[in-house]
Amino acid sequence: MANDKLFNGLPWIEPRAVYVHIPFCAHRCGYCDFAIAVGRDAEMEQYLEALEAEAARVIVPRPVATWYVGGGTPSLLPAPLLARLGTILNRWFPLIAGGEATLEANPESFDHEKASLLREIGFNRVSIGVQSFSQVALDALDRPHQAEAAAQAVKVARDSGLNVSIDLIFGAPGQDLPAWNRDIELAVALAPDHVSAYGLTYEKGTPLERRRRSGLVLPVCDDTEHAMFGLVMEKLPALGYQHYEISNYSRPGMESRHNGVYWANEAYWGLGMGAARYVGGERSVNTRDLSDYLRLALSGAPTARPGERFEGLEAARETLFLNLRRARGADPVEFERRTGRSLQSMLPGLEKVIDARLLEIVPDGTVRLTPEGRFLADTVAGEVLVKAGRDD
């Protein structure tokens, strides 16, 4: 990274990235299990105070290379509160020149005014939750926006000079392969810089998952889901979007640098309700309850429980598991510098997935998922976390 000189500490000890969580949503979508707060917009102002209090308690102002404001629905913040968020970020985490600053936006709460305000604050990238252009899929996912609104939002962002990433979901109940093909084509037609394509997960405890269990919703069949994943992996690269992570595609040079921090297993700050952080080798997560978060942060109390630390082989396994999310996989030099162990030494224990040709070792020593392995990334990840580097 060009601005490495600005940072003294090792990137897996001292964060160069900050994540800020804005939990407010107008509505809970059927598939969502994120830390969100619905119908509590009256507490937005207090929440921003709490964010500042949390920052003031744990850190001194320091520059970072990436901001990522996620949610919830950050774009739901009215302009004055968005401005306040900008003030907090710029005060505690000044963005280095050339830094990446992303905010998640939903089509129904994003307009020209907010887009230009974001630019003024320092944001240069929005991630828009399109999910689908088909009304059938949007209804199945219980998304409030209309199919046309998404295209409008992308246009607004583009006009304001923001880089655009769009999120798509495949495997929604009722969606078929041609509909998914159309979604990909319509997305590309909007010329985003970046596309995230997620297979729908039925998360425990969500209304969608309950409806599936009680038989009210029929998930798409395995073969279709497999074909959908196959289709997007084939199609987006052919249209100029590199497949650089299991669910992420970008134009050259437009990869999400913030998310790259996670997959490199490097450090990051986390602020806000339910936010996770990885600082100084320790992972911790803030409370997921809004009232608790406000009370704790505003009274100057810790907002997270004591964290967990991982060392030695376990830390190396974790790094390899995260590296393997990337298309480029784990690089032998980078891996050894990060973990103190050679990448080669991690291979014993992984015979099962190597023999099944899910994981490959390239002549230069790089270890990565094969195209087939991407379909079974969790199987490989499990083996890595439990067996990699095993010497018995």
Binding site: Y19, R283, F321, L376, L385
Partner: protein, 599 residues
């Protein structure tokens, strides 16, 4: 030491849930052995597992005192288990008594277990004091139940008392009836000592505690005794009675029930049914002992992790200390590695042992499907006893394949006769007879193979009769049948631990259901897994589990890393109780699939 004239020894026999333990607690309360404050439910059931399941497995004697017509009586209550698996324990208890309270729930009526245990008592020449329990309840139907008792057991309605374990109503009349109807024990204080060992248990502080009923003579502290069967001599160090807590005393006279310790180190040194006599003035003959119970149900127990073999052996040995009715022998399975073939009295016994093992030793176990003991007459004329399907020789060497048959007795609502008939005939049962106890209740008798009973017959009975049906059975002998060994192949490998012995006529259907069930239990692998059922080299059924094609979660960002890591690690470590056979991971549920295929 109480005069034999003033001693009464009795058991309470009853069906499960008919309120035996509550009634026993009322005895303790009415005789002042415990206070209302101590009156906790089911005081007699000492073990947690027993309390949890509301059943009594282990016999625990209690001595209580009661003043009747100005004389102070010593009453010894010897508890009995209420489940069919433990019939032999019942007969042990009864041998230490002169009388038995036959307790029948006035709301539910006579049950199969009531009949079976009442006949045991009659065979042991015990005086029966019949009592209806729960007479305080609105739904009690005492007259109907009395006529059922008359029909099934020949008990005269006018002899039947009424009581309520819950309120204590009628308990004093019952005690009076026990004193008046049950004869006092025989035996003389100065005869040579004869005391029957009817139970023993191992206490990690005190060593072996021996439960005895003195028949003749006197057992004293400091006495040198001889265990007549074992031919070993010991010095009595402590004597006591349970009143209801262990209370030391100096001696036990004829008719008395209590316990003693004599520095016996190992439980194996004391045989239940043995006779204790004085080493210097021994009795010439021992008392008639007990027949050693034969385990009838076997299954393999294997540690999930092969390194736990030694731990499992130690845990089994510890269990065996307090439960001589259960057996274990090392065995070796190609698929499962080293484990043990364990023998149980029945399915409940097997379940209890497994739970105790897991609770006490923190071992993760894989259990194979249970089977009964078979006999094979070979062409050479030898008789092989087969307690494990793996030991079945080639079909060519078998002259006769025999299996144990039982006579099974159901007490059911008359409206369910048809259902039970069907269930029995589907399980190769042959009809013996029907007796009507009342217009609404009937006794149905069948003879059928024990193997058809052990899996799910009891559950089936309970479900079709909505809990109102009961059953009891006894082994009648071995019969030659057209039996075959059904093998299961997983990914072309025969998994010996999955082999079962089945009747040829049902082999194909069983095989199909079995692998279908296994198909649901085995997770998808990275390759296709083929399941086959075969008799010898003939494949009778086939299923396949298609390869896992997609397993990937879409998102992995900062917030999820810890959670995702835990989830994935857990998945990869596999379900608990999983055994790897070749390349395939087979969960415990698949090994027990055979249990659920007998519809």
């Amino acid at each position: 030491m109480t005069d034999t004239r003033l001693i009464r020894n009795f058991s309470i026999i009853a069906h499960i849930d008919h309120g035996k333990s509550t009634l026993a607690d009322q005895f303790l309360l009415k005789t002042g052995a415990i206070t209302q404050r101590d009156f906790r439910a089911q005081l007699l059931d000492g073990m947690d597992l027993e309390r949890e399941r509301g059943i009594t497995i282990r016999m625990h004697p209690v001595t209580i005192y009661y003043t009747f017509k100005n004389e102070r009586y010593e009453l010894n209550l010897i508890d009995t288990p209420g489940h069919v698996d433990f019939t032999y324990e019942v007969s042990r208890s009864l041998a230490a008594c002169e009388g038995a309270v036959l307790l029948v729930d006035a709301t539910q009526g006579v049950q199969a277990q009531t009949v079976a245990n009442a006949y045991l008592a009659i065979e042991n020449n015990l005086t029966i004091v019949p009592v209806l329990n729960k007479i305080d309840m609105d739904i009690a139907r005492p007259d109907d139940v009395k006529s059922e008792m008359e029909q099934a057991l020949g008990i005269r309605p006018e002899e039947v008392l009424g009581a309520s374990g819950k309120t204590g109503q009628g308990v004093e009349d019952l005690i009076a009836a026990l004193i008046e109807r049950v004869p006092p024990p025989e035996g003389k204080v100065d005869s040579p000592l004869q005391a029957l060992v009817y139970n023993s248990h191992f206490d990690s502080y005190k060593g072996v505690v021996i439960y005895v009923r003195v028949k003749e003579g006197t057992l004293r502290k400091g006495q040198k005794i001889l265990l007549m069967g074992g031919r070993t001599e010991h010095m009595v160090t402590d004597i006591g009675q349970f009143r209801p807590t262990p209370t030391p005393c100096e001696k036990l006279g004829p008719g008395q029930v209590g316990f003693f310790m004599a520095s016996v180190k190992k439980l194996e040194d004391v045989k239940v049914g043995d006779t204790v006599t004085d080493a210097l003035y021994p009795s010439l003959v021992p008392l008639p002992g007990y027949k050693v119970p034969m385990p009838m149900v076997f299954s393999g127990l294997y540690p999930s992790n092969n390194n736990d073999y030694e731990n499992l052996r130690d845990a089994l040995a510890r269990l065996k200390l307090n439960d001589s009715s259960f057996t274990f022998m090392p065995e070796n399975s190609e698929g499962l590695g080293f484990g043990f073939r364990c023998g149980f009295l029945g399915m409940l016994h097997r379940e209890i042992i497994q739970q105790r093992l897991e609770r006490d030793s923190d071992l993760d176990l894989v259990q194979t499907a249970p089977n009964v003991t078979y006999e094979i007459l070979t062409r050479k004329g030898e008789v092989l006893v087969i307690d494990n399907p793996q030991k079945v020789p080639d079909a060519g060497q078998i002259e006769e394949f025999r299996e144990p048959f039982i006579r099974i007795n159901f007490l059911i609502p008359t409206s369910n006769i048809g259902d039970i008939m069907k269930i029995c005939t589907d399980r190769r049962g042959s009809y013996v007879k029907t007796d009507y106890l009342s217009p609404t209740r009937a006794q149905l008798v069948f003879e059928m193979p024990l193997a058809e009973v052990i899996y799910d017959l009891y559950d089936k009975l309970k479900s079709v009769t909505h809990g109102y049906g009961t059953m009891d059975y006894e082994i009648v002998g071995f019969k030659s049948e057209d039996l075959v060994k059904l093998d299961i192949l997983v990914a072309a490998r025969r998994v010996d631990a999955l082999s079962t012995i089945v009747h040829r006529s049902t082999a194909e259907v069983r095989g199909r259901r079995l692998i279908k069930k296994m198909r649901e239990e085995i997770d998808r692998h990275l390759f296709e897994v083929v399941l086959q059922a075969a008799i010898g080299s003939r494949v009778v059924a086939r299923e396949s589990i298609s390869a896992l094609r997609k397993n990937v979660t879409a998102k992995c960002y900062g917030g999820d890393i810890s959670r995702k890591k835990k989830l994935l690690s857990k998945q990869a470590e596999g379900k608990k109780r999983m055994k790897q056979v070749g390349q395939v991971e087979i969960p415990q549920e698949a090994f027990l699939a055979v249990l659920e295929t007998g519809d």
